[in-house]
């Protein structure tokens, strides 16, 4: 058996494998964004051009004169990624080339400061895949609140205190807003479900026109959890119903990953220091926890997430199946 394993390992090494972003970059241990980026770029393949917003991803991959990118890549500014990508796409169209343009931005560059350029890009129908790595705050500048930060979460600009329970406003429903542009395809994904994520990237890449993916990507530093449990945290966000994995075509819901057994939101929240103040024995803390559970319940009902028992593509089965077939499940 051992000999076989070694032979397999040797074969694997000999197999040429496309890597658009290579190791050696400076992301933190357990960075969800770095993993998500690798999965996306590998799936896209080499015939792409990337427009990257300012943020962690840009910083940790390109400290001059080094670069982790093996595909053409440009970083312009924080708020113009949609427009830069649109310009690149227009140029390729004018030159009669088929190369796909992919845009990368964090939640700040998507939900907030880059929102206008994104909306314009979607409205004009540019053939661009826009990927948002959503880690729910301005992590690159040191964990400040964004409109993607969940309510009640602690950030450096939404600290809990005697008068506050963390962020006072709900996470912006970006996927609905994007889907309202009636683009061919928009979806949510999670680093905890790489096969689902890859499938969504492949889907988006096969479509000519604007497509959008928001990928829930844990930030161990900003969320306050061990880097070793990033995947666990991301998976619990899906299994609780707080981060539904859905597909939308022309604004209509066309797919949702079923939850086999919904987990209580506290399972997700208690792993992260940004929610630690919600576990104090105070009426305010209890209320916020109830709000979280109500949000998860609302999502489960709205998107029909409740599974019908054991399914290969539900929140328990999805990843395992793609990894090695049902006999590993």
């Amino acid at each position: 058996m051992e000999g076989n394993d070694n032979a397999l390992a040797a074969l694997r090494k000999a197999q040429p494998r496309f890597q658009g972003i290579v190791s050696g970059h400076r992301a933190c241990l357990g960075c969800g964004e770095a993993l998500a980026t690798r999965l996306v770029v590998e799936t896209c393949g080499p015939d792409i051009m990337i427009a990257n917003a300012t943020g962690c991803l840009e910083i940790f991959t390109t400290p001059w004169p080094e670069s982790a990118w093996r595909v053409p890549w440009i970083h312009s500014l924080f708020e113009n990624t949609g427009a830069v990508a649109a310009g690149m796409e227009a140029a390729l169209k004018a030159q009669g080339r088929q190369t796909k343009v992919v845009a990368f931005a964090g939640d700040g560059g998507t939900f907030d400061i880059g929102f206008q350029a994104l909306s314009g890009m979607l409205e004009r129908g540019h053939d661009v895949l826009f990927v948002c790595f959503d880690n729910e705050a301005y992590m690159n500048t040191g964990i400040q609140r964004s409109s993607s930060t969940p309510h009640a979460a602690m950030t450096t600009t939404s600290p809990p205190g005697r008068e506050r329970m963390g962020k006072r406003h709900l996470k912006k429903d970006i996927i609905s807003i994007v889907a309202s542009h009636h683009i061919p395809y928009a979806a949510t994904a999670s680093v905890a479900y790489p096969s689902d994520l890859r499938q969504k990237v492949r889907r988006a890449m096969s479509i000519s026109g604007p497509t959008f993916l928001v990928i829930h990507s844990p930030c161990p530093l900003g969320w306050g959890h061990d880097g070793a449990v990033s995947i666990e945290v991301a998976r619990l966000a899906v299994q609780t119903g707080l981060m539904p994995l859905i597909d939308l075509e022309r604004g209509e819901l066309t797919g949702a990953m079923p939850i086999r057994t919904p987990r209580p939101v506290t399972d997700y929240l208690k792993l992260q220091k940004r929610f630690a103040h919600l576990f104090a024995d105070t009426p305010e803390a209890h209320t916020e926890l109830e709000h979280f559970q109500a949000l998860a319940d609302h999502n489960i009902e709205k998107f029909g997430l409740l599974g019908i028992g054991s399914q290969s593509q539900d929140t328990e089965g999805a990843d395992t199946v793609q990894r090695g077939g049902m006999h590993y499940a």
Partner: protein, 390 residues
């Protein structure tokens, strides 16, 4: 055979002759007629390009940036608030060394709100790292636009062609439009060596630490200094094609041994020239049109001002709390002359205030009166202001 064309229409047709592959457009007065005319050329099939109607000037500049980075010849136009909104992108385009051309239909900046002409918009981005060329008339706007593409593509620097809003953009003049053959012969197809390409992937716009940042800035500065040669060469080479010079770095009109110099930018030059030709004392005066403001032509200005006793700088912008912008730089350029002329720093024609022929005489009178030559808004009527503001 000259044709009567509105400035904006002439600029639009000229842009089309340069065969841009991507045009990004967002409307702002007084730039609108330019992008409208380009849209019509595209609609009529006279210009084949991707015309991207963006949702802001910020995106207009960004689309042009992305297009040029991906290897296409790109164009946009703006003015005033639009220039200020895209300021961050303008710095970025220049820092990334992206060759492209934009027209600035010069207009005042709010507040107070004014849609009329001055140079506050382009002057506010003088440090963005773009080449800036100022046109005295619409024929220069045509010729300079064509030259701008060649300069941009040879230097890998963006070029801003500054054209006075309304006084040029909305004025009908008899103009010579070059032929497509003339432009094609002068301007080869765009080939950007650093263009994004999956066959040769590069990373553009990376994070640069203090170990490399000063060198990057130095090289950008040096590239602009070196670009002066290309500005002159483009003007000479285009003159060989069409027989017209636009003035290279600067243009001098009037007597070699003049005592008084009047230096200005943009369309004021036309007014001054008319006044100059009719004036009995014209032998004492020379007019200097600063065509290239960035890179700043120190040597050419020194040469043009050698021997002058008085130099009046007339400019259409100011730095509040300091004074003249161009005059400060001119003063710096002349400081090394053995005999420095007395420099008068005047802002005129702000927010579209009419610049009449009489300005010429008023300026000569101010010199004759002597006294204070410090900065002032020359045509401001202080009696309209409360005493404390005078």
């Amino acid at each position: 055979m000259p044709k009567a064309l509105e400035g904006s229409q002439a600029i639009a047709r000229t842009v089309a002759l340069c065969r841009p592959q991507v045009v990004a457009a967002y409307p702002i007065t007084p730039q609108t007629h330019i992008v409208e005319n380009i849209a019509r050329l595209v609609a009529d099939g006279e210009l084949e390009c991707e015309y991207v109607s963006v949702e802001s000037e910020f995106s207009a500049a960004s689309v042009a940036l992305g297009a040029a980075a991906a290897g296409s010849r790109a164009y946009t136009a703006s003015a005033s608030q639009g220039i200020l909104l895209m300021t961050e992108v303008l710095y970025n385009i220049a820092g990334l060394r992206i060759p492209m051309v934009m027209t600035c239909a010069n207009r005042a900046v709010s507040a107070p709100l004014s849609i009329w002409n001055d140079h506050q918009d382009s002057m506010s981005v003088r440090d963005a790292g773009w080449i800036q060329l100022y046109c005295a008339d619409n024929q220069e706007a045509i010729d300079t636009t064509i030259q701008a593409y060649r300069i941009a593509e040879r230097t890998e620097l963006p070029v801003m062609v500054c054209v006075d809003g309304f006084s040029l953009t909305h004025t009908l003049e008899p103009l010579e439009l070059p032929t497509q053959e003339q432009v094609d012969g002068f301007l080869p197809p765009f080939q950007f060596q650093r263009a994004l390409d999956p066959r040769q992937p590069i990373s553009m716009g990376t994070l640069v630490s203090p170990d490399f940042y000063p060198e990057a800035r130095h090289s950008h500065h040096q590239a602009l200094i070196n670009a002066a040669e290309e500005v002159v060469a483009a003007d000479d080479d285009w003159a060989a094609v069409c027989g017209r010079h636009s003035g290279g770095l600067l243009k001098v009109e009037g007597s070699e041994d003049a005592e008084i110099g009047i230096l200005t930018l943009g369309s004021i030059m036309g007014t001054l020239l008319d006044a100059h030709e009719q004036h009995p004392d014209q032998g004492k005066v020379k007019l200097i049109q600063l065509r290239c403001f960035r890179p700043f032509p120190f040597e050419a200005i020194k040469e043009a001002c050698r021997g002058l006793q008085h130099l009046v700088v007339l400019e259409r912008a100011l730095s509040p709390g300091s004074g003249g912008i161009v005059s400060n730089e001119v003063q710096a350029a002349l400081s090394s002359l053995e005999q420095t002329p007395r420099i008068y720093s005047f802002a005129v024609g702000l927010g579209g205030r009419d610049v009449p022929l009489e300005l010429y005489q008023h300026v000569l009178d101010a010199i004759a009166r002597g006294g204070d030559n410090g900065f002032r808004v020359f045509d401001a009527d202080l009696s309209k202001l409360p005493p404390e503001d005078r």
